[in-house]
């Protein structure tokens, strides 16, 4: 036994949570993403159907709503987020606007500040004449233990991020799913820090991954171009 944290990780191996009802995920056309809606509480040990429900397919007739969730959309995932103000929302509530998404944690001193820097420079490049582009930036913590809403708020304030930036946390099992769709690799170390790959992902209004950069600088221009296209 070298570290209590390791044991904790092993004991809290992710359980697949929640039952997704596809219809519930399809948002009404006038739905405004908000963080004030009640979210179903799920018992961690509750046996469940696979919540990643591929019923949510655009070809399915019963889903021919005005905002169908596509087969490639991350909004098929049933993920509950808590933001820096302590309010909860579903990941799917971000549907409707392009989203720049990344996994970070607030006590990270090396890669995460660089990720945030990259994200800000991407957003700045897309904002024309100081007019903020209609996008959302979703920074999800991979460290739900330490990143309380208060910590997220402090981070957001410290970096003077505007209201388009949402800092959010999810439980460990759901962080793993978010990481899976963004293609972020990460691992908690005994020190409590994380090893993680610096990934910035771009989701279109339907939640499809339309751009992704790993590392810094090289693909930024491409991502900016795609985001511009999405905003238009």
């Amino acid at each position: 036994m070298t570290s209590p944290r390791i044991v904790l990780m092993l004991l809290t191996v992710p359980l697949v949570l929640g039952i997704t009802n596809c219809e519930e995920q399809v948002l009404p056309p006038d739905h405004v993403p908000g963080l004030d809606e009640p979210v179903e509480e799920v018992e961690p040990n509750e046996p469940a159907e696979a919540h990643a429900d591929p019923h949510c397919d655009p070809d399915k007739e019963h889903l021919a709503a005005s905002e169908p969730i596509l087969g490639a959309s991350v909004y098929q995932l049933d993920i509950s987020l808590t933001d820096q103000d302590g309010e909860t929302a579903a990941l799917a509530d971000f549907q409707g606007e392009p989203v720049v998404a990344a996994l970070i944690y607030t006590t990270c001193t090396t890669a995460c500040p660089m990720i945030l820097n990259e994200v800000e420079s991407i957003v700045d490049a897309v904002d024309e004449d100081g007019k903020p582009a209609k996008i959302k930036v979703l920074l999800i913590s991979m460290d739900p233990e330490r990143d309380t809403p208060e910590a997220l708020k402090a981070y957001r304030d410290f970096h003077q991020l505007d209201e388009r930036y949402v800092l959010a946390r999810a439980d460990e099992a759901q962080v793993r799913e978010i990481a899976a769709v963004l293609g972020t690799r990460y691992r908690q170390l005994p020190s409590g820090d994380y090893n993680h790959s610096p990934v910035i992902a771009l989701l279109d209004a339907q939640g499809q991954l339309t751009g992704r950069m790993e590392g810094f600088g090289q693909q930024r221009g491409e991502l900016v171009e795609r985001l511009r296209d999405l905003v238009e």
Binding site: L10, A50, P54, L70, C108, T110, A111, R187
Partner: protein
């Protein structure tokens, strides 16, 4: 054949034990893995077919592209049938992480973690920890000299110390935290990761350089995405030990 059926249905207790990761960070040189339950055999094509029949959303013609790439179950004759060229009792392959998770979840189970899987897999038929037994390592390595995607029916060989079959020699297997392997894509960096790429990384070097199969597993896992389905990749399920009665 009776034995097969018994085996297919059952889990066995593995651990507790110590696992030494190949690329340990500081404090990770030895990890204590609590006891857990693990499928004795890998999930078979037949079992996965039953799952798909009960959960048609996981048929290859229904699944969303977020959850599986184009190779998903592509060895099957059709979305709901195996066909004659697929061995029913052979390990299923061509299954994504999402699909494997969904299967386990339908059985009130989960995928094993990397630490759990590796703990189970370091056992030989005789020993719980044969990770430094050259003969054992050589046997594992022999799989890589076996061509293509040939498999045998599950549980055809001897079980290991824990009573688990085929952890080596048949197919790769998903672990839940497959994305925790953070070796650089260029493996000659010896796991020493660039601080600008990976937060919090110290100098990490391989601990047991003769365990080539372990290098391969890590390289393999680090090449995967959650939607990846390869013809040599299957899975088995795990479960926490039942809570002891107070």
């Amino acid at each position: 054949m009776k034995i097969f059926l018994l085996v297919l249905a059952s889990m066995t207790t593995v651990g507790p034990g110590l696992w030494r990761p190949l690329y340990p960070a500081e404090g990770e040189e030895e990890i204590t893995v609590p006891a857990f339950e693990l499928d004795e055999a890998a999930v078979t094509h037949r079992q996965f077919l039953e799952f798909v029949q009960e959960h048609p959303e996981w048929r290859r013609d229904n699944v969303g592209s977020l959850f599986a790439d184009e190779g998903y179950l592509d060895s099957w004759a059709g979305p709901g049938e195996l066909g004659s060229s697929v061995g029913r009792g052979h390990p299923v392959s061509g299954v994504s992480w999402w699909a494997a998770r969904a299967y386990c979840s339908s059985r009130d189970a989960r995928l094993p973690t990397e630490a759990e899987w590796e703990l189970a897999a370091q056992a030989s038929t005789e020993e719980a920890d044969a990770s430094e037994d050259p003969e054992h390592l050589a046997q594992i390595l022999a799989w890589y000299s076996r061509p293509g995607n040939q498999t045998d029916p599950v549980a055809h060989s001897e079980p290991n110390f824990w009573g688990v079959y085929d952890l080596h020699g048949q197919v790769w297997e998903w672990v839940d935290d497959y994305a925790s392997a953070l070796v650089a894509n260029d493996n000659r960096e010896d796991g020493t990761v660039d601080i600008t790429r990976f937060c919090g990384a110290g100098a990490i070097t391989a601990s047991l350089k003769i365990d080539y199969a372990a290098f391969m597993r890590i390289a393999f896992r680090s090449s995967l995405q959650a939607d990846s389905t390869t013809r040599n990749l299957g899975f088995r399920c795990a479960r926490d030990l039942p809570k002891e009665a107070p």
